[in-house]
């Protein structure tokens, strides 16, 4: 099992979701987050005084899936989230040791 954490543009969430729904994934969690990458935000002006906006709003989308499904999910996220400009985000894939469904106590891939 793998965990996929994708940091994407908030305005691309709908597209990513639409593409993922065709893949029969078992679930996803989205959170509003703020962060910066290589570009390091930008500066704005408030009442004549400059301030920096370092942390820009992003969506952190988390999906846990069986290993064989991962490439298709990653492709879908890239296809839905890509604009080609700075700030499109990143995808992190990490191994998952165990999954437990709280309601039934099931463990392993069947709990997904």
């Amino acid at each position: 099992m793998k965990r996929i954490d994708a940091v994407i543009r908030p305005e691309r969430l709908e597209q990513v979701k639409a593409l993922l729904s065709g893949l029969e994934i078992q679930g996803a969690t989205a959170a509003e987050v703020r962060g910066f990458g290589r570009q390091r935000g930008h500066t704005e002006m408030y009442r004549g005084t400059e301030y920096s906006v370092d942390f820009l709003p992003k969506i952190l989308l988390t999906i846990v899936a069986a290993d064989e499904r991962v490439p298709k999910i990653v492709d879908a996220i890239i296809q839905g989230g890509k604009t080609g400009k700075m700030g499109d985000g990143k995808i992190f894939v990490t191994p998952v040791d165990e999954v437990i469904r709280i309601r039934t106590g099931e463990r392993g891939p069947t709990a997904l």
Binding site: M45, Y46, R47, G48, T49, E50, Y51
Partner: protein, 563 residues
Amino acid sequence: MRQLIARHTLRRSLLQGAITILLLAGMFGACSTFCFADNGPKPDPAGIATGDKTSVQDAAGNALVPATPDPASPDFATQKKAYDEFQAQMAKEPIAAKLADSLGHVRVATNFSWTLLTGYLVLFMQAGFALLTCGLVRKKNAAHLMMLNFAAFVFALLAYYAVGFAFQYGAAAINAAPTNLGGTPTLNAFLLGHGSWGFLGGKGFFLSGPGYDAGSLCLTLFEFVFMETAGYIIVGAICERISFWAFILCELFIGGILYPVFGCWVWGGGWMSQLGSTMHLGHGYVDFAGSTVVHGIGGFCAMALAVILGPRLGKYGPDGKPRAFPAHNIVFVVTGTFILLFGWMGFNPGSTLGATDLRISVIAMNTNLAAVAGSATALLFWYLIFKKPDITMACNGMLAGLVAITAPCAFVSPNSAVLIGVLAGLLVCGGVLFNERILKVDDPCGAVSVHGYCGWLGAVCVGIFADGTYGSGWNGVGAANYLGQAGQGVTGLLHGDLSQFECQLLGATLCALWAFSATYGVFWIVNKVKSMRVSAESELEGLDVPEFGMSGYPEDAMASIIH
């Protein structure tokens, strides 16, 4: 040990309570002579004797009943003839006399309605100020801002009720009788000064005795909402760092002393309003609806307090450069500003104290024009200089235009109103940058620039742009002849009266000096006795929880979700 501290704290709070009660009792006792033993005209609490034929006027303001002839006057013979003829006519036509009495009552009643309703509009400005100032600060201080605005209303009114109104209007009937409201004849003695040199009013303490009168209380309602405006202006400059106890003291000081004293000098028939007759300075110091009396006092008081408190933690970096603390809710800021604009439709037109004065339409239109001119100027200024129009500065610009037109609104043409708005829009932009970058006075909401600097500008603009069409007989000048014209009203520099300009310049500057130095003197001492600032930890956390035990947005606090 803990018990000892508890006992010590208890004893100290008992002591403080006792001192407060003693002070209040002493104040009440000292004032009781004015409250209850009064030999002046009988007050009319029911309002059944206010407004008779003496209140009847034609459209130009000429009274139906001629004034009682004064034997000392050079025109005694003419006056007596007119008076006798009128008496003879009344004796022949008793029904007409009765009708005139009814008409006079209806006239006063019409003006009561206008004055009270516009007063309610001004009262609603409280909501606008609360939203505006709350929106302009950081989220962690939202409840603190709301509580300051709320407490400003509560405590300043109590102080104004006890002594403020009496200090301000206790002698109104002598030089500044509001004839539209029946003249308030019971408010007829100065506590300090007399005749044309009055310094402090002396009737109507605790709104008792001479103050318990329908006409007088109509005036009280309209005037207390103005005082409240000065009271919450200060919030904008001292928020995010002042402790609550110190704020209550500030409000008692404004409502009881700072505002009423200057108010008496200008509006209560005090010495500044009489400079036209005593020193031949135009029509005396003229401030129609309070650019200086209300906004200047509030703005410069706010400045003194902001200087004493010092800037918010982190506002200036180690290099001395200012840092931005962006507003947390622009929706509040804009909504608040529009509520203030709406309230201003009471503030300025209501200051005629009567709908029978048809100048109200000019005043209302001038007020709106200055507001949009101020806003457009500030907005475009920012657009050009900083590439993006700052919404908070657009709002500040609108308020700056409103503050600046408040004094001249009744005396100028619509074209001048637009010009005054433009000047105010420029001044407020310059003022905000000057305070932030050069003076380094930390003013989170721009209160000093909007109300202080633009208030000063507004009063000076009377002396520049007033066109002489209104205000004949104002403070005793120009009723018969002024500048070679019969019925010449308040006239500014551009229309030929230099002395009015001098008077306005001096008066507006005096306002700034009085508000700043009196506040600075009093609260410098208070701050030496006990620091008026909250602790650094509270300030960093945001004042909501440390000062009031709850946050403005409880959904942000995890605690509310868990429990």
